[in-house]
Amino acid sequence: MYYIGLVFEYLKNYMKTRLTYRADFWVEVISDLLMQASNLIFIFVVFGHTNSLGGWSEAEVVFVYGFFMVPFGLFSCFVNLWNFSDRYIVKGEMDRILTRPAYNLFQIFLENIDPPGLIGSLIGLVIMIISGGQLGLELLWWHIPVLLLFSISAMLIYSGIYITLTSLSFYSDSPTGIIPLLYNIQNYGRYPVTIYNRAIQFLLTWILPFAFVGVYPASLFLGREEMLHMAWLTPVMAAVFLTIGLVSWNVGVKRYRGAGS
């Protein structure tokens, strides 16, 4: 309850700050949307040349992309660790976080909360509805709770991976190279993993399980039998990767050295 209350307080403050910088807000929303649009256009261009990609039709790939946008939107709204190393380690703002009576990682999430990210989730839902319609998918009652479960699980997988890698900042002075690399790899997860070779499939499934943020859970709604068991693994993977993330974070915080005087 305490933590839910805090989310609302920080959101309120976010709105107050943003109202003073309105132009900034819209620039951010629009640039976000443009990025998503360019990814979609890429899919359309590819399917301008072929009818099927590793056995997946255009509408299916677009549906997977739409699903991906939902957890990704949640992730970019609530879990923003992009500038953690610079802001909290190098500038030493972690000091302030650690002297407050709320879980430190949670405070960092709250301080960097970014509600425009949620617009992406909404657009993702719209894309799923449109492409689902094209595929003639039927909306069943259990789709809604399962969609919710999978979206949250997928978001937690993302969070787990990023928390783990960000916690390296506590050990190394500036592991700046890793996060941009990761942003590149995560893009592969939006497309059906079966189009890649085995090594990449394995990587995206078990090591950096970005496939669980797109194609696996989405395949359940598409009725793809061959991935059904993988789809139901999504919440399990979420639990595993979130645990890894939190453990390495908590160990990392103990090694925090502070900055300056």
């Binding site: 305490y2 209350g5 805090l6 307080e9 030493g92 972690m94 000091d95 302030r96 009576p101 502070g258």
Partner: protein, 350 residues
Amino acid sequence: MNAIEVEHLSKVFKVQKNRGGLKGALQDLFSRQYNEVAAVNDISFSIPAGEICGYIGENGAGKSTTIKMLTGILVPTSGRLNVGGYVPHEEREKFVRNIGVVFGQRSQLWWDIGVIESFGLLRKVYGVPENDYKKRLDELVQRLDLGELLSRPVRKLSLGQRMRCELVAALLHNPSIVFLDEPTIGLDIIVKTEIREFLKDMNRQHGTTILLTTHDLQDIEALCSRVIMLDEGRVIYDGGLDTLKTRWGQGTRVTFQFGTACPLARLRALTEGVDISWTADNDLHAEALVPGGLNVSDVLARVVGQTDIPITDIKITETTTDEIVRQIYRTGSAAADPGTGTESGRNSHA
């Protein structure tokens, strides 16, 4: 009851050695060499509840590192810690509800929103009940005269205004132990005095334990009954400010200006039998160093009465804490008596 207990506390940092040149940089890439630096080296002290204690030392002496361990930010390498009944780094979230922290160099407040919004957010973070919060805020706002500042965003405040707001932010949850890391840094004399007065009042009214680090010894003189001095990670003095002064003070200096020449030998003869050392730049000027135990009047009585020595001016100065501390920093130890240069053999029970 002790608010803060520290036993054999140490913090060792591993610092990477950088070899010079491109070749060195390449070597560093594959095999790194580390130096171990003890920022805090086996220190012990305890501070009873309700005390204001000053924590001083040169830059890099380990003050901030100690404060960061006491507030749970850093995990000690070894030693035992107890602050307000908690081991800070182990039960951090519960522990910090009882403490207030102000880092003079760093802001606790949100940059873009009004001061009052920051306070409101902190109220939620600390879970302070609405009524307590209102009462406490009113009291602090009135005491620190913040009335019209509350609606302004922090970025539009002057440093003095901001620091007063920082104090309120750190005290809203009525902590029983307060850590202040250079709270008066960069402030003008009026704000400094205001803040000192405020801290003193808070200590009197609420019995708040205060540990503060500072480079401004006037803070210490105005506030602290006790001072802990640190050098290279070790405690070199722990005790009262008065003791520090009487033990290491150089006594009182009396400077004479004479109307006509007066040789040193004459002055020495006049003060025969009294433990005074005379120095002089020229015959028209002389300086007497009167040790702590003696009365200045004894010297004056012997010199001033002489009709053949016309005196144009007398100046009496006492060694300031600044001078004493500078002396101690320079020698790196409070064990020796820097005033006379003799080994006193007294140990500062570090």
